[in-house]
Symmetry: C2
Subunit: 398 residues, 2 copies
């Protein structure tokens, strides 16, 4: 019998995308579905980026350098320097999405059977990359009660074995929106030094911090060889379909190794590198405007959620996600029910069940992730739906 691979079997289907058929069925019935389930912003991709594509001057869509267009890397280095990250353009490999930066990190640093510690809940696709690389994800649980702050460093210590090679953080965090403080980052540094680990820092949402500042892992002194910055333009410039990211490290040996993986797939898409390059020239107030928009959405969403009976939503400091605890039996059943059986004014809301973000089975069953990627009017209507739904849901608790 022809068989698929064990790793193919173990690979999880996207926990966010598995509800899509129910959403499609609801829409076919004429229901409006508010998509708070996925990190696809409704913010326009900046006109300057679109113009760069529309005016791109080429006759042959050629391979670029495997590390990316040199002109783009130089500009991107300028951007990093402008936010206090001291890197040279030749310490950057342009990747096909932040996804590929994660894959390169796992492939270049970890061998099958090695372990990587990740605070949970975490971005579900880390599981996929880990399985592709044969690596075990060891979760350390963060908690909704304190807004998903970094777990005490002793909790990390407990998980360390001789197979532990790296820690992954996402800062500010997807799915929790938590923004790790300088103090927390220094605590991470300590354990990284003590056990000589890699620190992979996914900073896709760097520019969206509403309270305090973002503290990059690249700011940490003395562990320059341990840190890999994994980045993407997807969220920063609302260009998710561009598939342009970056793998950034000052560790020369690691960079050379990652380059071999980059050469294997030849290069990243040409046109979107042009768009990425154009993004660096956006006016200085670009993020101010976008951030102000996300901030008003966050404030509205969190206020609406906490006003609902028995709902708790800690105020997220960054990104564009919030996690909420609901008075329900099971978030997977609830999210499906919202699409299949509920409507209010012929509308409903699509949420991401939190279970998909936890590595530990059984956690997150009463939590959902909400992405505030829709405007305030849509958020209000979506919250109306959720409020009504919680009143009539057959599996409600409390």
């Amino acid at each position: 019998m022809l068989q698929i691979s064990k790793r193919g079997d173990a690979m999880p289907a996207s926990p966010i995308r598995k509800l899509v058929p129910y959403a499609e069925a609801a829409k076919k019935k004429g229901k409006t579905v508010y998509h708070l389930n996925i990190g696809q912003p409704d913010i326009e991709t900046p006109k300057q980026m679109r113009d760069a594509i529309h005016k791109a001057d080429f006759t042959i869509l050629e391979y670029t350098h495997s590390a990316g267009l040199e002109s783009y890397r130089k500009k991107l280095a300028n951007y990093y320097n402008s936010v206090g990250i001291n890197v040279d353009y030749n310490e950057i490999i342009i990747t096909t999405g932040g996804s590929e930066a994660i894959l390169f990190g796992f492939m270049a640093c970890l061998d099958p059977g090695d372990e990587v510690i990740i605070p949970e809940p975490f971005y579900a696709n880390y599981n996929g990359f880990a399985i592709a690389a044969g690596v075990h994800v060891v979760p350390v649980t963060s908690h909704i009660d304190n807004g998903f702050a970094l777990p005490p460093i002793e909790e990390f210590e407990k998980k360390i074995t001789n197979k532990t090679k790296a820690i992954v953080i996402c800062n500010p965090n997807n799915p929790t929106g938590y923004n790790y403080s300088e103090k927390e980052m220094l605590a991470l540094k300590e354990i990284v030094v003590k056990h000589n680990l890699y620190l992979f820092s996914d900073e896709a949402y760097r520019e969206f911090v509403y309270d305090g500042k973002q503290f990059s892992a690249m700011y940490l002194k003395g562990i320059e060889n341990n840190v890999v910055l994994m980045d993407t333009i997807s969220k920063r410039y609302s260009a998710c379909g561009a598939r342009i990211g970056a793998f950034v490290t000052k560790n020369k040996q690691l960079l050379n190794t990652a380059m071999k993986f980059a050469q294997m797939r030849l290069c990243s898409p040409y046109l979107e590198q042009i768009a990425g390059e154009a993004a660096i020239d956006l006016p200085a107030d670009y993020f101010d405007i976008t951030k102000a928009e996300y901030l008003s959405r966050r404030n509205l969403l969190v206020k609406r959620l906490n006003a609902m009976k028995d709902v708790f939503c800690p105020n997220p400091g960054g990104a564009f996600y919030a996690m909420a605890k609901l008075p329900i039996d099971d978030c997977d059943i609830f999210c499906q029910w919202l699409l299949e059986h509920f409507e209010y004014n012929n509308e409903t809301v699509m949420l991401a069940p939190a279970t998909g973000f936890y590595g530990t089975k059984g956690l997150g069953t009463k939590e959902v992730r909400l992405a505030y990627v829709l405007n305030c009017d849509a958020i209000n209507k979506a919250m109306d739906c959720l409020e009504k739904a919680l009143q009539v849901y057959p599996g409600k608790t409390n």
Copy 2:
């Protein structure tokens, strides 16, 4: 000590790209370098594709479906049907380059320690994907004397173990240009059936066949579940930097598994999918014109090579590569010498040493691959250089 992974260490640097610094140094000295080393055609990307990009109507560069834009998949299915490959659009996953289609195949079908048989010389990056997936490449040697025809099926038989899970072919072949006949494909079918193997068929160069016809692995009856077509628009439409390929199979279980890997990296780049879609609407004579151009280049190149003393170049039936046996001690030394120490009228030529295409150490040391991706005038000048070089090369034999 922080260490890179064993697989990162094992990952080969690109054998083609390793000579790049020598080419750069030659150019800095003012030398013209004719690039016959890499499969980057000088043919223009069709205007219809460029127009599609320049006129792309979007305000948000959004994620596409993980399997690719439905409209593109439908058109691509039409293209396949037009060349006798009977597939439905939902049997296609759009990938980020043909590269990713190969990676998905290895990841979804093979586990670490499994073996894949590939006729050598073969596309060097198969090694990279195999190492990324923890898979062992087992080469079966094809020979320049018979133009790199498919090795006798008994040679495959000898290599089969209980770890063998798949055979990879590239048809027409990179680097040899050999076009596998129906008879050879039927021989492959037999062994695939007998040992229940996957047959991965890389058909990047399908449209460039000069003698006879291309025989797709998808034409083979009765092994539909075994066959995966790995495809790309890079060469077909001279759009290497687009990074758009396809993973095509009628095996539902495998397709579902590959989809989980596709979801992991979210989607392929949006704009180049638009370009790929536009390519399907090219006029019917598009390939005739391109093929005629490649054919005249091939004829010139092969004629010039075989006219040189002690040089042998079998006439390749497809793709845009030729392999030649030269009267030299070592192709790696020779190719570097061409860039570092040789010039004729202040010009030189860059070739790909064949050693990088063989899995068996010690093979191919007197062979080079030439990509006829430059026009006839440039090919003539490049051949002038090679002819002179072979007269004065210190390591010449015969």
